[in-house]
């Protein structure tokens, strides 16, 4: 276990997850389809989860992995709510592009 870490080195895990995280961010920034935006957010969260796991191995400490469960659960809940909102929007608007959500401004 730890020799893997030693071979690869914690930094690389961090870089990887940062890259993933940024991919998520860019996804959120550039995609207009709400579902895809959700997915990008999920990517961000999972990047973090990955890093959690890596760290917990690095520290030889279980807390991190436990935390991952928390975050996954939370993410699930979040997405559930989000999708619900999305559905009602689709009902009212007939589209799920976030570009249509510009009535509130100024």
């Amino acid at each position: 276990m730890d020799n893997i870490l030693n071979q690869i080195g914690i930094e690389n895990y961090i870089f990887l997850s940062v890259v993933l995280f940024c991919i998520g961010i860019f996804g959120v920034l550039y995609r207009r389809n709400a579902i895809i935006v959700f997915m990008s957010i999920e990517i961000m969260l999972n990047a973090v989860n990955l890093l959690f796991v890596a760290f917990s191995t690095y520290h030889q400490d279980a807390q991190g992995q436990v935390f991952v469960f928390f975050s996954m659960a939370v993410a699930a809940a979040e997405v559930a709510v989000g999708l619900a909102i999305l559905v009602s929007i689709f009902r009212n608007l007939g589209s799920i592009s976030i570009d249509n959500l510009k009535n509130l401004k100024g």
Binding site: I41, M44, H59, V81, G82, I85, L104
Partner: protein
């Protein structure tokens, strides 16, 4: 701790009531329950102990803030009675959600472990997403919910990443341990980065510039009661939590070791100046009262941030400021709820001639606005006074002067509303005197003025 459990229990009871088809009783029961919780909380006050190997630590700070949250929730629940009277089927859900939200808030201020902190935030936020979007058929509400959800979860992601980096640096989520490590000589760079990320996430929650864009839209779109909740309870919770985070993790001292302190302070100063200026100036041209209050909330966030510069000593000031601000906000919103009950928007024209039709409510709204503007004998003034006092002691006189100029600007839009109430002719007759709204308005403004007359009551709690 018991407070937290009690609150959660209360929430579940609300849901049960619905099942037992006992709607009538929900509001009074919840209010009574919350009062009980409040008493319990007072009982816990002063004792500093930690539960479940430091998942939760109860301290003066947490208890006093939680009691503030509970009081606010009582008001909000009381208001919800006649806010939801058109669709009674939902009332239990909404009340329950508010209670859980409160639970999240309490968890946030009394966390002893970053996991708890994260859970708290999420409970709060998810509840808010729901409430924001709770008017299913109203597109505005949907849009508000969506916006808040997207940006909120984005922010949560950032926070999570921050927590992760902290964990990586410290190998622990426990606040106490982290604070101990953080004073040690050489820290991995991840710790400060993580802290900054968490801070940014929280800044989003308290709607500080430049992370404030969501606030006006969401406030305007969501149902009035939810707006009330966001602008009072949610904001207060967030700022309190951020304060606790920064002070309890010894973040600033740790930066000190790596001489980043000034830079961080500069960031705070910059953000607070930006928030108050942008908030106030943007509010000048608003015609929708909720939107206006959203911007005023942003500017107040800027004011509250000033306490971070003297984090060591200014917990009391923060408590006082938040209490004053939130109480004024509740009073104001209860009047807004009354006025805009059957209007499709909260346009300022709805308030025309309120001074003639409902002098009492008009007086209360005026009082709360004056309090927010910081006019004497209302607690808002003393809040600003103590804040400035602290900040000048810390030697940031220019910041104070900017703040002063801002509070002058703020008078401009607060008085727009007062003018509308007193110097315009009423354009509609307003009937009915809903007891609960009047009660809430009167009680909250009375508390506000009482705080103004005896500031020491609150101020000395945390000193």
């Amino acid at each position: 701790m018991n407070t937290l459990i009690a609150i959660t229990g209360l929430g579940i009871f609300c849901l049960l009531f619905e099942i037992l088809n006992f709607r009538k009783g929900i509001i009074p029961f919840t209010i009574l329950g919350l009062l009980g919780v409040l008493a319990l909380n007072f009982y816990e006050f002063g004792s500093t102990e930690s539960y479940y190997n430091n998942m939760i630590t109860v301290s003066k700070f947490s208890t006093s803030f939680s009691s503030l949250f509970i009081i606010l929730t009582i008001f909000l629940v009381a208001l919800s009675h006649n806010f939801y009277e058109n669709h009674p089927t939902k009332i239990s859900d909404f009340v329950a959600i508010k209670i859980f939200l409160l639970a999240g808030g309490v968890a946030m201020v009394s966390f002893g472990n970053l996991a708890m902190f994260f859970l708290g935030i999420e409970i709060l936020s998810i509840a808010l997403y729901v409430l924001a979007a709770s008017e299913r058929l109203n597109l505005k509400s949907n849009e508000a919910g969506m916006k808040y959800f997207l940006m909120g979860s984005f922010a949560s992601g950032i926070i999570l990443f921050g927590i992760c980096l902290i964990y990586g640096a410290m190998g622990s989520f426990d606040v106490v341990e982290i604070s101990e490590y953080s004073l040690s000589a050489e820290l991995p760079i991840w710790f400060p980065i993580g802290m900054v990320l968490v801070t940014i996430g929280m800044l989003f929650k308290i709607a500080a510039v430049p992370f404030h864009f969501w606030a006006p839209d969401v406030y305007e779109g969501s149902p009035a009661l939810t707006t009330a909740l966001m602008s009072t309870l949610a904001k207060v919770v967030a700022i309190a939590t951020l304060f606790k985070l920064i002070s309890s993790l010894n973040f600033i001292p740790s930066l000190e070791n790596q001489d980043h302190l000034n830079t961080f302070e500069n960031i705070i100063i910059f953000i607070s100046i930006a928030s108050m200026t942008v908030g106030n100036i943007m509010a000048l041209r608003q015609v929708n009262v909720k939107r206006m209050l959203a911007f005023s909330g942003i500017s107040h966030a800027g004011f509250m941030l000033m306490t971070f510069l003297t984090a060591a000593t200014s917990a009391g000031v923060l408590l006082y400021y938040t209490a004053a601000y939130a109480l004024a906000g509740i009073a104001a919103f209860s009047v807004i709820l009354y006025v805009c009950k059957n209007q499709n928007d909260e346009d300022i024209t709805n308030f025309h001639g309120l001074g003639k039709t409902n002098p009492l409510l008009a007086a209360i709204l005026t009082a709360s606005l004056l309090s927010m503007a910081g006019i004497p004998i209302f607690s808002g003034f003393f809040a600003k006074l103590f804040l400035f006092n602290q900040t000048i002691q810390a030697g940031h006189i220019t910041l104070v002067i900017v703040a002063v100029i801002n509070s002058i600007i703020s008078v401009g839009y607060y008085f727009k509303l007062i003018l509308a109430m007193y110097s315009k002719e009423p354009n509609q007759e307003r009937t009915g005197k809903p007891f609960l709204i009047y009660a809430v308005a009167i009680v909250s403004i009375t508390l506000n003025i009482a705080l103004g007359l005896f500031p020491s009551l609150v101020l000395d709690l945390l000193n």
